[in-house]
Symmetry: C2
Subunit: 430 residues, 2 copies
């Protein structure tokens, strides 16, 4: 069960210890991931087929499911699931479409105009996990902004199911997005295929998507050894709930468990101004846990989890900002008083009726978020993740006359005379 | 001198060879950088002082220059340099201030409100190179957006000069920015200090700045082994000039040489629709090269450089997009016809009177840009690089009634019952 702490009794060192996670550098799996990458780099499709046999226990004739097969699979899912996926799709689309930015020309000096324009990353790779759980929601979260951005080539990899195919939910999302192929590759081998390209699977410029430790290690390796970018480093999922006496312990417990069921290494943290709320929430956790299908996973995660009793919401926010949670739930009617104080978090859920689950699936925000305190420096996935913002500038005759001498002086003091000369020759010729 | 190619005669493989750069994986220096990092991690300030002795030939008593000394140093520089730096500062400030984004609340479904808010990365580290050239311009390019973003702690590292201090230009920039301390550390050891922290130098959340191969390798290593983020991978600088018959060969040559003088591994590429323009530009390159102070560096860089003759501007743009240049100069009066076709570039300079030098120093755009074809997936540094965009959501009673059932269905199909339950308990209690 969850450990309990009192903020007042914690030293700076205690807090540093509590906010620490993801300390496993993964060195144990590094060697095997390097081998997988080398295999895919050298043997391409053959390596992928061998890995499918070894890890997914399927014999693949071809490494993708095409349009016709996807259409058939998509048809077979129940109408109410189609409707739910469609609602989520529309909300995610609406929110991510609002992230487009318009061109804004700034005349920084007379005759010197500067602006930025967005251009889609041309070839993106989306990794959709499909081992213990198949995740159509992740496909939506990555596919929708990729489509809005206008990425020309969207390569989707997902591990083959036991029948050598993908499931109907994934197929239905593909249909909604207008994606006509799903590549049957999982794990580190899928990442390697998208970084290096194989006969079947195109090389991409940036790889997105969560995954197990092997996938994460492979992403980290290709990021530092090829010119393939990645969305962000990823670790186990986590939530921090800040709750005061206005919170409902039944809701708090449900939110903690929703996090805990993700995996045995997930972490749920409850920070509260109320000792009684903590007590009641823990009672509720036990009660709700007992009837969960994934109760073993969740129980294991709860042993990594803890509560912290604080004096007030400011102290709660202080701890939360140091922790820098992937998900932050403000389970209080007074959330408006503290949102400005948030400095580090991936995604924030405000008030007692806003469960993290809503953002995980359907409210419209992205669920691909920075874990393991990366929220200190990384944003979650958004439309921005699928574009480059290119700067442009145009200088007129009056502009170069006006700004040129400044550039000449600055180039001179840095000892870069050819830089200076690029201005001088222009000033001499107009 | 520059090699010459004809686009029509190039096979796909030839083009792939031409656009390839930065193939040195740097494995030769990896070991020594790992050692430097380990030294700094273990011995902190003492290691930094030893490295200053070894690499910079200075004995440092303290590892920083404080406010008073900076003020004195800043006073000593000529007024016209102060004015030039101030003009650049104002333009960079104006352009980067225009990159702030306002909060935009989107009601994705009835009662479901989602938005993003920017929060500064709290602790940032700026690396300002100072070996062969001292770069006040880089300090402006990184310091201005860090200040606008509102970063609480801005740690600036620059290698000590022979006199154990920093130069007056750097001091003057510090004054403009309101930065009161410059840490005297350079190379991989500065990166290690900012990633791990020492007694003198604070640990940061994200490290910015260009540098030599050691700095770059250190950034790559700390990115994958600590939770310190970096701005982007960096390689040698490069320019691609697209020129037609409206271009001035004198300007084109000056722009190619401005790139070439950066370092012996820099690359300058000229793509032109006009054989005569290429010929005249190469003649001009020889002429201008002869009188350059850094002519040996530039001449070496030109041996890595080349020209490509194309049929028309579209073909030129096709090659450029495959190359994905850090700097792209459209040396043509017809630039408006082709800017929409740009898919991959770091920063673009439009028309015959817009030298890259302007953007390097003073027009307002940032000069920290993706090299080595990273422009396919990375943007240059901007205000965005210094903030996280955190998503927020608030769901009302009508919102959860409306969206809740959708979330329940989606959680159910992914087998995540605690996720479903977080909604169910709320629907049952309102």
């Amino acid at each position: 069960m969850m450990r309990q702490y009192n903020f007042k009794a914690l030293s700076k060192a205690d807090i540093n210890q509590l906010i620490l996670r993801n300390t496993d550098s993964g060195n144990a799996i590094r060697e095997s991931v390097l081998n997988i990458i080398e295999e895919v780099k050298t043997h391409g499709d053959d390596a992928l087929k061998n890995f499918a046999q070894k890890f997914d226990q399927v014999d693949l004739q071809q490494l993708y499911i095409g349009k016709e097969a996807l259409t058939k699979l998509a048809e077979e899912i129940p109408q109410q699931v189609k409707d739910a996926i469609t609602t989520a799709y529309q909300n995610i689309k609406k929110f991510h479409e609002s992230q487009t930015s318009s061109k804004q020309v700034i005349e920084t000096s007379i005759g010197v105009n500067c602006w930025r324009e967005s251009r889609a990353i041309e070839r993106v790779g989306l990794y959709i996990p499909g081992g213990s759980a198949v995740l159509p929601s992740t496909f939506l979260m990555l596919g929708v902004p990729a489509k809005i951005a206008g990425c020309k080539e969207i390569v989707v990899c997902s591990p083959p199911q036991k029948n050598g195919s993908v499931n109907g939910y994934i197929a239905f999302v593909a249909q909604l997005l207008g994606i006509e192929k799903i590549y049957l590759a999982g794990g580190a081998q899928a990442v390697a295929a998208m970084a290096y390209g194989t006969a079947s699977i195109p090389k991409v410029d940036k790889i997105f998507g969560p995954g197990n430790q092997f996938v994460t290690m492979a992403k980290t390796i290709v990021q530092s050894t090829t010119n393939t970018a990645i969305d962000m480093p990823a670790g186990p999922s986590e939530v921090l709930v800040i709750a005061d006496e206005t919170a409902n312990p039944v809701f708090v417990a449900a939110d903690l468990l929703a996090q805990a069921e993700h995996g045995p290494d997930s972490q749920a943290v409850l920070v509260s101004t109320s000792a009684s709320l903590i007590e009641k929430s823990l009672e509720e956790v036990s009660k709700q846990l007992a009837v969960l299908p994934r109760k073993e996973v969740a129980a294991k995660a709860l042993t990594n989890s803890y509560t912290v009793l604080v004096d007030d919401l400011e102290e709660a926010m202080d701890f939360s900002n140091q922790y820098a949670p992937e998900h932050l739930i403000l389970a209080t009617d007074n959330w408006q008083l503290i949102t400005d104080k948030i400095t580090n978090a991936g995604s924030v859920f405000l008030g007692n009726l806003t469960p993290e689950s809503a953002g995980d699936y359907a409210s419209g925000t992205n669920h691909t978020l920075p874990t393991s305190a990366y929220a200190r420096s990384y944003s979650g996935v958004s439309l921005d993740s699928f574009v480059k913002k290119i700067t442009f500038q145009h200088i007129s005759e009056s502009g170069i006359k006006n700004l040129g001498p400044t550039v000449e002086i600055l180039a001179e003091i840095e000892g870069l005379h050819a830089h200076k000369n690029a201005v001088t020759v222009r000033l001499e010729n107009i």
